[in-house]
């Protein structure tokens, strides 16, 4: 297929996934703010949401305080924040519009309707009220997008690039979320496995729709290392790193055909680490180091996909 078309499809899916993950982070952070004494201060509660999104500096350049109102507006609706939900959905729709031919009619109409519906939230003060309605809306539109594309698109390269974008973005988001939360909750490395704040960890689980899964899998109290296991190594947990690479690796095999390329190598290596890795070894080397390394490798993979498929040169 056309490289430019593949590029638009891939980024369309990444932006929708990004919007969904941002909404998840906002939603649980907001829920935490309702738990008495959940955090020392408003800023201790809201700053991590920005860390996960990776745009602390850009926020500080525009705001002087980590208030709920500032952070929510910045992450949800700010036109100046390139990864705000507003910009992510807008970019998703612009990308879709550029390649509506490559999408099933239902998929395009779904994304177009998403953008039309989104306008109902313009100008509302989400931090004050309606944030959970908004976050639910973003999540359900993202679910709809995945459902309608999965249910209606021909299983061709267009579909593969859409799926690829979804899982590259999701892996990145899950790794960042876990890293930031683990870091914050357990400032002291020795305390791993020690005392935890039940609410904080259940919030992390809820943010990736894993609370019920955790109960089913472990039927035990929430332990941070188990949360990490669930989100890193469990292949049956749909937002885990392992599950993402279970999707990514075969897609890249199919897209590459008989060509041997760097994408396949990086993906294969990451997949092997998740497939054959053991949690105690990851902890020995340090979960933070592991996740940091993962985010970098996943990002390299993204760059490599961009180079070999999406920016295809004339040659």
């Amino acid at each position: 297929m056309l490289s430019r078309t593949a590029d638009h499809l891939y980024w369309m899916a990444r932006y929708i996934e990004r919007a969904e993950n941002m909404a998840r982070v906002l939603d649980v952070t907001s829920n935490m703010s309702l738990v008495p004494n959940a955090a020392e201060s408003e800023s201790a509660l809201w700053a991590p949401a920005l860390e996960i999104a990776g745009n602390v500096e850009a926020f500080e350049a525009r705001h002087d305080a980590y208030t709920a109102a500032n952070v929510v507006h910045y992450l949800a609706m700010d036109e100046h924040n390139p990864s705000s939900i507003y910009n992510a959905l807008r970019s998703a729709r612009e990308n879709a519009r550029a390649v509506r031919v490559a999408l099933s009619a239902e998929t395009w109409e779904n994304i177009n309707a998403l953008w039309l519906e989104f306008q109902q939230f313009f100008g509302s003060n989400l931090a004050e009220s309606g944030l959970s309605v908004f976050c639910d809306w973003v999540k359900s539109r993202s679910h709809l997008f995945r459902g309608v594309s999965f249910g209606t698109m021909l299983r061709d390269d267009a579909f593969r690039f859409v799926r690829l974008g979804t899982f590259i973005e999701r892996a990145d988001n899950t790794a960042r979320l876990l890293d930031v939360k683990y870091h914050l909750l357990l400032p002291d490395e020795e305390e791993i496995g020690g005392a935890v704040d039940y609410y904080e960890w259940s919030a992390v689980l809820r943010s990736v729709s894993a609370f019920q899964a955790y109960q089913k899998v472990f039927s035990d109290t929430i332990e941070p290392w188990r949360v990490a296991e669930l989100l890193v190594l469990r292949d049956d947990m749909p937002r885990s790193l392992h599950a993402c690479f279970d999707e990514i690796t075969p897609i890249l095999e199919q897209l590459s055909g008989r060509r041997n390329n760097e994408c396949r190598r990086i993906a294969g290596e990451l997949h092997a680490r998740l497939h054959y890795g053991r949690m105690d070894e990851i902890f020995q080397e340090g979960l933070h180091e592991f996740l940091e390394d993962f985010v970098v490798s996943n990002n390299n993979l993204g760059n490599e996909i961009q180079r070999s498929f999406l920016n295809a040169a004339a040659a």
Partner: protein
């Protein structure tokens, strides 16, 4: 036109108390439908069009401001025999125009015969680059939009031919889909000829004009991009034909061939249905600063390495200065009498015509020879004295740039407007497709001037569209 009262011909009610035969069943139905319900249907259509994204961007406005072309829920009806005449006339015309284009870029016999003046070779739309170039099948205008207006029961005129990159066919198709969704009961009362196969006919034609020797031609649709006002149509047609929708940046030229950049490497392209004007096609040949085109495309095209539809240089045949010669062309090339009439036209390059025009400005429509989209024209009866005097100065400064025509009382069709159902002026653009054969699907884009009394139907000037029903016997 009814000369005595100067009232325009109404498609449904030529006289206040008489409904034309083909409209009877519709009029009966309409009488039983409350206005509020029609208004609801209109709103439903608007929501659906927005959802499907049948919108266009207005240059300079942010992406939140996409516009819809207003859709009228009351269709225009054409009887089977009316349609037979119109379609035969349109086909005849397009055949002659294609022969004219071949001639003007080869032996120029029509000039030698004294029918078209040699000045045509100096026309800005004449492309010397095309001289001596053979295009597959001798087809230049693969897609032609013929604008027709009606002034009486049996009087149709061709207002202009659109042979460059005519647009609007997606509205013909989407309007039909919308009408079938909104008013299924009407399609049970009327046997309406289907139009949905248009993209298939187009695709067959495009494949048929591939460079000789190509077995499985790769066809693409070349668009200026998502910000072009007709982008929806480009995407729609590419999707319906199952071809790639490409931008200039997706194509490149190598070894006398055109390729597109794909995720699996370069892929050869054989036929380009281009929706970019000649001037922007190839920065090496035409406008050097064009970012929309493909450097080197014209050279490959001239060497027969790729087919462009429409061909380069068709503009010389739909120019308003050429228009006046089309009836003669039909006699010259086909040896037939024109089925469809031209609007009587004054050429302001001729002293007598100029004199007449300047004396009768308040009654005439004056058009720029190369204008389009309803810009740069004077509608005498609707203009103020001041506007007429200003236009007089423009004409005097370069008379050869203008032609003049009597103001036609375009027929009206009942239309849903704010005040209820009222007559509004309409025109009709059928799309004639040329490949191995010349044909058209039984339907057309019907444009309607929504402003009361307005004769300008262009969407850029506040016009809307209607579905056109060609009735089967």
């Amino acid at each position: 036109m009814d000369m005595a009262t100067n009232l325009p011909f109404d498609e449904m009610r030529p006289q206040p108390d008489a409904v034309r035969k083909i409209y009877r069943a519709y009029a009966d139905w309409l009488a039983g439908v409350p206005l509020a319900q029609l208004e609801l249907k209109r709103q439903e259509a608007e929501v659906l069009f927005r959802r499907v994204g049948i919108t266009f961007n207005v240059y300079g406005e942010s992406s939140g401001k996409e516009r819809l072309i207003p859709f009228d829920v009351i269709p225009r009806l054409l009887g089977a025999d009316e349609w037979r005449t119109l379609s035969a006339g349109a086909i005849q015309r397009v055949k002659a125009l294609n022969m004219f284009l071949h001639d003007i870029y080869h032996k120029q016999e029509i000039i030698k015969a004294g029918i078209v003046p040699p000045a045509i070779l100096a026309n800005a739309q004449y492309r010397p680059e095309m001289y001596g170039v053979d295009v597959p099948g001798g087809v230049y205008a693969h897609i032609a939009g013929i604008d027709l207006v009606r002034t009486g029961e049996n009087q149709f005129y061709v207002l202009e031919d659109n042979l460059r990159t005519p647009s609007g066919v997606s509205y013909m198709l989407e309007n039909r889909k919308m009408m079938m969704r909104l008013f299924p009961e009407l399609f049970r009362r009327y046997s309406v000829a289907p139009v949905e196969h248009y993209p298939q006919v187009l695709m067959n034609n495009l494949r048929a004009v591939a460079p000789p020797g190509v077995q499985e031609p790769v066809v693409v649709l070349l668009t200026p991009g998502a910000y072009n006002s007709a982008y929806f149509e480009h995407a729609f047609l590419a999707q319906q034909m199952g071809v790639d929708l490409v931008e200039g940046q997706d194509l490149f030229v190598r070894n006398n061939a055109v390729y597109m950049r794909t995720t699996e490497g370069p892929k050869r392209v054989d036929v380009i249905y281009r929706r970019i004007d000649d001037d922007y096609l190839d920065p090496l040949a035409f406008k050097p600063d064009s970012m929309l085109g493909v450097p080197g495309l014209l050279t490959v095209y001239r060497n027969g390495g790729v087919t462009l539809a429409n061909a380069v240089g068709t503009g010389v045949a739909d120019d308003k200065a050429t228009y006046i010669h089309v009836p003669e062309m039909i006699r010259f090339y086909l040896g037939e009498e024109p089925i469809l009439a031209n609007v009587p036209t004054y050429e302001l390059s001729k002293a007598d015509d100029l004199k007449y025009t300047l004396e009768h400005l308040p009654e005439l429509v004056v058009k720029e020879v190369q204008g389009s989209g309803g810009y740069g024209m004077l509608v005498g009866p609707a203009a103020s004295k001041k506007e007429i005097e200003e236009f007089r100065l423009r004409i005097l400064s370069s008379p050869t740039n203008y032609i003049a025509q009597p103001t036609l009382a375009l027929s009206t069709c009942p239309t849903l407007v704010e005040s209820g159902i009222a007559p509004r002026h309409v025109d009709l653009r059928p799309f004639v497709l040329s490949g191995k054969t010349v044909s058209l699907v039984p339907g057309a884009l019907c444009r309607v001037a929504l402003k009361e009394g307005s004769l300008v139907v262009n969407s850029s000037q506040g016009g809307g569209t209607k579905d056109t029903w060609v009735l089967q016997q």
